[in-house]
């Protein structure tokens, strides 16, 4: 009876060790591995052999295998990272050239670092999110939303979108508020297509509302593009958010397991 208890304990400990494997590997081979380990344990126990040395060897061998499989997984995922870095560098070449050739264009090291980090983060976010569902509409929707979010951030970082005495609050709401709604919405939706659609609709609504308040309050009055340039810009972003939301909705309908991630 005590032997059965110790076998169960060792099996539970081995199950914990298996959690070190990459998830995809664990889901595929975790159960058969646990069964095999248990079969081997029972065999040794039935033969009355020392379980300690055997278990130690099994755990060491499996630990080494988890390191190997994680290494393989990291190697497999390194290529997209290299691609993202390359694209980031390529895009940064544009302002670098502009720094030398365009009068009045003067980016400092800080600008390059911030925009480089945001570009890399956007690319990484696209890779992590889009790779979770193998549907072209979902990927296009993610790409569209992230690209628009990046452009919105860049425009605001470059010169601010809304000018005037309340520009800090106005831009915080217009850019930060919209992006925060999207981020929180994506978290709540756990990246599922249908939930993402609602997050994007919420972003569109937030941006339209903030723009409406800004126009009504005349926050940016006095700016050369006020109010039509601002209204058109808002219209473009709202259209993009809604377009992305519709693509997410379509992705949720196209998936056999509606709304479920792979």
């Amino acid at each position: 009876m005590a032997r059965d208890g110790s076998l169960r304990g060792l099996r539970s400990a081995y199950a914990l060790l298996l959690k070190l494997y990459p998830r995809s590997y664990r889901e595929r081979f975790g159960e058969p591995m646990l069964q095999t380990f248990h079969d081997l344990l029972r065999e040794r126990a039935a033969e009355g052999r020392n379980l300690f040395r055997f278990t130690f060897w099994m755990f060491a061998e499996t630990l080494a295998a988890t390191l190997r499989e994680n290494g393989i997984m990291i190697t497999l995922h390194r290529k997209p990272l290299v691609r993202i870095v390359l694209v980031t560098v390529l895009i940064l070449i544009v302002p670098l050239v502009a720094n030398q050739t365009v009068e009045g264009f003067d980016w400092g090291l800080f600008d390059f670092v911030v925009i480089g980090a945001v570009l890399f983060g956007t690319g990484l976010a696209y890779h992590l999110v889009a790779s979770r569902l193998n549907a072209i509409t979902y990927r296009v929707a993610v790409g569209l939303a992230l690209a628009a979010a990046f452009v919105l951030f860049w425009m605001n970082a470059a010169a601010g979108i809304i000018g005037g005495p309340n520009e800090d609050l106005a831009n915080l709401l217009y850019v930060g508020g919209v992006l925060a709604v999207g981020f929180i919405g994506a978290l709540l939706a756990r990246l599922r297509p249908r939930g993402m659609a609602w997050a994007l609709f919420a972003m569109a609504l937030t941006q339209a509302l903030v723009a409406g308040v800004a126009l009504a309050a005349g926050w940016g009055a006095g700016e050369p593009v006020w109010p039509w340039g601002f209204a058109i810009l808002t219209g473009i972003f709202v259209t993009i958010w809604v377009g992305s939301a519709l693509l997410f909705l379509r992705a949720s309908r196209d998936q056999p397991m509606s709304g479920e991630l792979a």
């Binding site: 081979f29 159960e31 079969d39 081997l40 099994m58 630990l63 295998a65």
Partner: protein, 120 residues
């Protein structure tokens, strides 16, 4: 190891797993026991090595997962069985042919294990 490279040399673990599956489908524990028996207990794999090899062999098309089934010789737990594929059989046949050719060379040169061990 990619599909279509069935004539490439096999690692010892892959060779032994293919040999174990050549006669019948087996679950993980069954493969281990068969490998031990085939190698007269000279080759012993832990679950980490075994299932790492199984993953690569499935990806290469050498073996495939069969349906879960109960092993009547064991308990009533359902187990995943593994089966050799056509590509796996070709790879095994090519590897065994390589071994035969190596043994033929050794015979032609009158080399024996005992003689080599004694520096003859």
């Amino acid at each position: 190891m990619a599909k279509g490279t069935s004539s490439a040399p096999l690692t010892p673990a892959v060779l032994h797993i293919l040999l174990a599956l050549a006669t019948q489908d087996r679950h993980g524990y069954g493969i281990m026991k068969q490998v031990e028996a085939d190698s007269r207990e000279k080759v012993s794999m832990g679950p980490g090595t075994l299932y790492g090899s199984i993953r690569r062999m499935i990806d290469a098309g050498l073996i495939r997962e069969s349906d879960k089934a109960i092993d009547p010789a064991m308990d009533d737990e359902r187990r995943v069985y593994y089966a050799i594929t056509g590509i796996g059989r070709e790879a095994l046949a090519a590897e065994l042919q390589r071994y035969r050719e190596v043994v033929a060379v050794a015979k032609r040169e009158r080399l024996s294990a005992r003689g080599l061990a004694h520096g003859a």
